[in-house]
């Protein structure tokens, strides 16, 4: 009773003194550099809507019976699971876009965050600014950096092309039937037209089709914010990309689904994007951007965006801000192009500098890194899932310095982009590895990305053996797993993260392939791939990774009687710190007098060797 009276008294006092506690909002956010070397971090990708529901108060229109609808995850829930992520060994958290989205479109919800409408306010399904700040603060308290997912290429389906000039968004007008099989297309998503979408009447074309913004508050099909994006000329207005091979369509077409393509060559768009996204950093002290659909954006945009964001944040004390992009493409030269420091022609540069208002001219710097999609196709899929030859890994790696930036960006991470490629096994846009792969293959893939040069990125639920297929089946509810920390894959991933944290060679050493094989049959070395990590920023530290990717037999890095030569002195004792079912952790291997190493691995197993002296 006394306590009840005391509580009532306290509540009354709080109420009468106007106390509504907005935690963390009173003090301005101080920007800090929270990451010294991004290679020390294991990135963990979270689809916020699917990870944890910590606040039922924001569960608006939740429908868990469909994978394409809102499921209720939020920042409060994610914050509540940070200990789980710490236990796994996560060092950086990549979260879904934070701004307000189109709520729903054609019975699919904007739960993923890639349909921006208001770039300046939070997605209230995830929480408010307090919740976001709290998440970031709690993550930083645990030594976890936070990376925001950002979209600059497009907005959601916020307007339609009034092709028949009747003022209504008609679902069916005459389609071309030439560039695609679609013969009846609607005014939301018409086929690409390089001239711009044309209006037409029964008498023929009638000039550019007017752009009319939708106004449906319930589904949040509303004009975009910031308001500069409400001007039609801010968009390319050429309709839906039909062929990704056509550079014009790739850069200037609407992303399929009617996501309206911004004209990212315009100064207003460039400046707006820097403003809205730098502001999110200033509001929260997040540590990096994962940038969506970069290959659909003009190259000049990336020069402006990356440089102006770095400069603006550096002025406030934040450096080492990591910006990496997603170019969903298997071509190294294309993917790597966004990381190179290349100046355009003088004429183009002069035009680009017209957008500069702070006097700091544009240089060739672009992004700090990219998702290594070519590796996803050529290694994760071909080698670890399908057991194709491992020599393709060596070929892929050998051309890295040719395709990726080799000099650090000014005010960037301090590392050349070629050293900060983001390596992943799967993500929200591709089927999970286990959808078609096997558990042993997943372990090899985990060993590979956690020990190779660059930053490993783990898609949420990988550690829980989730196995969904293509989007949205690969966006499962994490809470259904119970966040168990006792499963084999969780423990394996955790062990790799700890080993990566312990051995600097695995994080900062240069990579050198010491064995790769074109053979996939009964040959002695079929399926073997081995690489060393040493030198570089790791000094004398050393690590050797050996994997047997074939499914049939024991293999060894020996062919034609010539065993694998390694880069440590003869007589060095190497210890397998990872172990496998046939070779427990602690198994020792001695480098021969000729500098070779004899090691045999059962099918689809690997070893992670470090000198005994470094244990």
């Amino acid at each position: 009773m006394t306590r009840a009276i005391g509580f009532l008294g306290a509540a009354l006092l709080a109420m009468t003194t106007g106390c509504m506690s907005f935690d963390g909002l009173d003090a301005p956010v101080r920007l800090e550099t929270n990451v010294a070397d991004w290679r020390d971090r294991v990135i963990y990708q979270v689809l916020v809507d699917r990870f944890a529901d910590g606040d039922a108060g924001n569960n608006f229109n939740v429908d868990m019976s469909s994978q394409a609808r809102w499921h209720g995850g939020d920042w409060a829930g994610l914050e509540g699971k940070l200990d789980y992520l710490s236990e796994l060994g996560v060092g950086a958290l990549w979260i879904s876009p934070v701004y307000r989205n189109v709520e729903t479109d054609a019975s699919v919800d904007g739960y993923h965050g890639y349909w921006p409408q208001d770039f300046t306010t939070t997605n209230i399904h995830y929480g408010d600014l307090m919740a976001l700040r709290s998440l970031v603060r709690s993550a930083h308290d645990r030594g976890i950096a936070v990376i925001l997912d950002v979209v600059t290429n497009h907005v959601g389906q916020l307007f339609f092309y009034d092709i028949n000039l009747n003022g209504n968004p008609d679902e069916s007008v005459r389609g071309s039937g030439e560039q695609s099989e679609v013969t009846h297309i609607n005014e939301y998503d018409p086929d690409f037209d390089p001239r711009g979408i044309q209006a037409e009447t029964s008498l023929g074309e009638a000039g550019p089709a007017p752009v009319i913004f939708n106004h449906d508050p319930a589904s949040n099909h509303m004009p975009p914010v910031p308001v500069v994006l409400q001007r039609p000329e801010m968009y390319n207005r050429r309709g839906r990309t039909v062929s990704f091979e056509d550079p014009d369509q790739l850069l200037h077409g609407d992303f399929p689904g009617g996501l309206k393509d911004l004209d990212t060559t315009r100064c207003e768009v460039k400046q707006a994007m820097v403003d809205v996204y730098a502001r999110w950093v200033e509001l929260t002290d997040v540590d990096g951007f994962r940038i969506d659909t970069i290959k659909h954006v003009d190259r000049e945009f990336w020069r402006y965006f990356a440089q102006k964001v770095r400069q603006r944040l550096a002025r406030q004390g934040k450096t080492n801000f990591f910006m990496f992009g997603e170019a969903f493409d298997g071509r190294e030269e294309l993917v790597g192009a966004y990381t190179k420091s290349e100046l355009p022609s003088a004429e183009t540069l002069a035009r680009e500098n017209e957008c500069v208002e702070d006097g700091l001219g544009i240089t060739g710097d672009q992004l700090d890194g990219v998702f290594h999609f070519p590796q996803y196709y050529q290694v994760i899929r071909d080698v670890f899932r399908d057991s194709l030859s491992t020599d393709r890994i060596e070929r892929l790696w050998s051309d890295r310095t040719k395709h990726y930036g080799t000099s650090a960006n000014e005010l960037g991470t301090g590392l050349p982009p070629v050293k900060t490629l983001v390596n992943f096994i799967d993500n929200h846009d591709v089927p999970r590895f286990l959808f078609e792969g096997d558990a042993a293959g997943l372990r090899l893939a985990l060993l590979f990305v956690m020990s190779q040069d660059g930053l490993p990125c783990i898609y949420y639920g990988t550690e829980q053996d989730l196995r969904g297929g293509n989007d949205p089946a690969n966006r499962e509810d994490m809470w259904l797993t119970g966040y168990a920390t006792t499963g084999d894959t969780f423990r394996y991933t955790q062990a790799l993260a700890r080993l990566r944290a312990k051995y600097v060679a695995l994080r900062r050493g240069d990579a050198r392939v010491v064995w790769a094989s074109a053979r996939t049959g009964a040959e002695q070395d079929a399926g073997i791939f081995a690489f060393e990590r040493s030198g570089g920023d790791a000094g004398d530290a050393y690590a050797l990774v050996v994997m047997n990717t074939n499914r049939e037999h024991v293999s060894a890095p020996v062919f034609g009687g010539a065993p694998m030569k390694v880069g440590v002195n003869p007589g060095t004792v190497l210890v397998d710190v990872l172990g496998s079912p046939s070779s427990p952790p602690g198994t020792k291997y001695t480098v021969s007098g000729q500098g070779t190493l004899l090691i045999e691995l059962p099918p689809r197993t690997g070893a992670l060797l470090v000198p005994q002296s470094e244990l």
Partner: protein, 588 residues
């Protein structure tokens, strides 16, 4: 275990509702038994003379701010959920959550009437010793004696009508930014009560059957729609003097309320609308104990889910079934103790509590054939009131404190939202402190009221339905003649919601505090004479409200209230009450 007088140990079940009901029953029984022992040789208290209806004590009604379908215009509709989740109990009343209350009948003792009390003004009202009989008051029916009883029909009503405009010529609209602001712009509402009262000579029992129809906005003469929103606000039978003088019981559908704050249109402590039954006992010591249990099932998927299934017996078509079908149990207990100081001055203490219970259930998810459990809910209310009156005219002061937790924090008609992580209302809470009073002297009177309210939904995080708010209002009045006067009203409203807004001038999202001073001038005609509660009354109104940026931010884009910093309001209105029984007590 509950220890009751006599040191009898009673086992109580774990279910909180059952515990509450058992405890309350024991309490009421004990009160009854104790008073019986004392009152056997007590001469019944003298009956207070029946008074004219226009002299009834505080006759007040309250309204919800969105009761007439104007939700889009309300501040609480400024956010998606606010209109539903703001949802403290008073804002989730049915659309016609209006009512009037009248004074106790002739059988009530003076002490039981308070507060507020009425002292009939000599020039206008008939003297207390010459009450107008009920029949004459109603003017309807002559008593009958054909079956050994006397009976009468009584008609009563509360009503208010307002014709008003803003400065732009638009229909005037409630501009309060808080749940309980000024009532000068309260929307049209009327209650029509037809009551049958009987005395059964064979048993000595008195009964009354009360039916109250309420009609809300809009009015035919305004919109030309020959239709009306009608609700049944009372439909119950009450029997009095059940074997013991002072003991009564009722059953049916009933508004169940205590004292209000007239200026705020607000019942701060006890205000329930349920279908159920109750007991009331008034001891010769004037102690009043009330006990009630009722049920309610708001029209919401939170309470009920209907589904279509194939017809049985291999028949064509589909049958509709109720998959989820649960109703809220509400029990209430009220204990009132008046204390007299001399002939006129007095005070009273009220202790009040409610227990709410909603059983668990099961509902079908969006995927046919896949079901999910719906957890049980519980809640409670505890509160108290301290009232005092001078005994001179209607001068009185009431102070209220009320705390609600869990399901009860959302009010009896609410659909709880912003639930906790366990998908229940556990953790929701509401604290209210309020006061209301009136003082009259000669040609002058001043009414005042105010409240502070803090509501937190069950969700741990702050959101738009978490509210701290309050208002204070003062209305001095002066009579130039017995039937003519003027009132001036000043008020201040303040509200903060648990959400962040980007300021109009840009910058970081920040909490907003909305404030709104209001001012009104009301010349009035009071045919029944002087008195703050003298009705009927008609008035002219000019009101001005001043919204700051926070107040404007409560409204959606393009709402005139979002752009106007000053709100002007011109109108003419009328208000009356007479003969209505819709008061918290009984006509005993």
């Amino acid at each position: 275990m509950l220890q009751v007088p006599g040191r009898v140990l009673v086992y109580l079940p774990r279910d909180p509702t059952v515990r509450f009901l058992l405890t309350s029953t024991v309490f009421l029984t004990a009160t009854f038994a104790a008073s019986s022992a004392r009152s056997d040789d007590v001469t019944p208290a003298p009956r207070r003379p029946r008074r004219d209806a226009t002299e009834e004590p505080t006759t007040a009604e309250r309204t919800t701010r969105r009761e007439h379908g104007d939700e889009s215009a309300e501040p609480k509709a400024a956010t998606q959920r606010a209109s539903r989740e703001d949802a403290s109990r008073r804002e989730d009343e049915p659309p016609l959550a209006e009512r009037s209350s009248t004074a106790p009948s002739d059988k009530r003792t003076p002490m039981a009437d308070a507060p507020p009390k009425v002292e009939p003004r000599e020039p206008v009202s008939p003297p207390p010793s010459e009450p107008a009989p009920t029949l004459a008051r109603a003017g309807l029916v002559v008593p009958t004696n054909t079956n050994g009883h006397r009976g009468t029909f009584v008609f009563g009503s509360y009503g208010r009508v307002l014709a008003a405009s803003d400065a732009a010529g638009r229909p005037a609209r409630d501009s309060d930014i808080v749940a309980y602001g000024s009532r000068v712009d309260a929307v049209n509402y009327v209650e029509l009560e037809l009551r049958r009262e009987d005395h059964w000579e064979a048993t000595g029992i008195d009964t009354r059957i009360v039916s109250t129809l309420a009609i809300g906005n809009s009015i035919f003469h305004h919109n030309g729609v020959f239709d009306a929103q009608v609700a049944v606000r009372n439909l119950y039978l009450e029997a009095m003097n059940l074997g013991h003088r002072g003991l009564s019981a009722w059953a049916g559908s009933r508004m169940y309320r205590g004292d209000d704050i007239y200026l705020l249109n607000f019942w701060p402590l006890d205000n329930l609308n349920t279908m159920g039954a109750g007991l009331r006992f008034e001891a010769p010591t004037h102690t009043i104990a009330q006990l009630h249990i009722g049920f309610g099932q708001p029209d919401s998927p939170f309470y009920k889910q209907r589904a279509s299934r194939p017809s049985p017996l291999n028949q064509f078509g589909a049958a509709t079934i109720d998959l989820l079908d649960r109703q809220r149990w509400i029990g209430s207990a009220r204990l009132e103790q008046p204390i007299r100081f001399g002939e006129k001055v007095g005070m009273k203490l009220v202790a009040y509590g409610e227990a709410h219970r909603l059983p668990a259930g099961e509902r079908e998810t969006a995927r046919d054939g896949v079901f999910e459990a719906v957890p049980a809910e519980a809640g409670f209310v505890v509160g108290g009131q301290l009232g005092a009156w001078t005994g001179e005219r209607n001068s009185h002061l009431n102070v209220f404190v009320r705390y609600a937790g869990g399901l009860a924090a959302y009010g009896e008609f609410a659909t709880p939202s912003s639930l906790g992580v366990d998908r229940t209302t556990s953790g929701a809470r509401e604290l209210q402190v309020a006061f209301g009073g009136n003082y009259e002297l000669g040609r002058f009177a001043v009414m005042a009221g105010g409240y502070l309210r803090s509501f937190r939904n069950a969700s741990r995080a702050l959101d738009a339905s978490d509210v701290d708010e309050g208002s204070v209002i003062v209305r001095p009045q002066v009579w130039f003649r017995d039937w003519l006067g003027i009132g001036v009203e000043g008020g201040y409203q303040l509200q903060q919601r648990g959400t962040l807004v980007v300021p109009e001038e840009g910058g970081s999202p920040a909490p907003i505090v909305a404030t709104m001073p209001r001012f009104a001038v009301m010349p009035f005609i009071s045919p029944a004479g002087r008195g703050s509660f003298s009705r009927p009354m008609m008035w002219l109104i000019y009101s001005a409200g001043f919204r700051d940026a926070g107040a404007r931010a409560l409204y959606p884009v393009d709402d005139p209230f979002r752009t106007r910093a000053v709100e002007h309001f011109f109108g003419v209105g009328a208000e009356w009450w007479f003969g209505s029984s819709s008061y918290g007590g009984t006509l005993q």
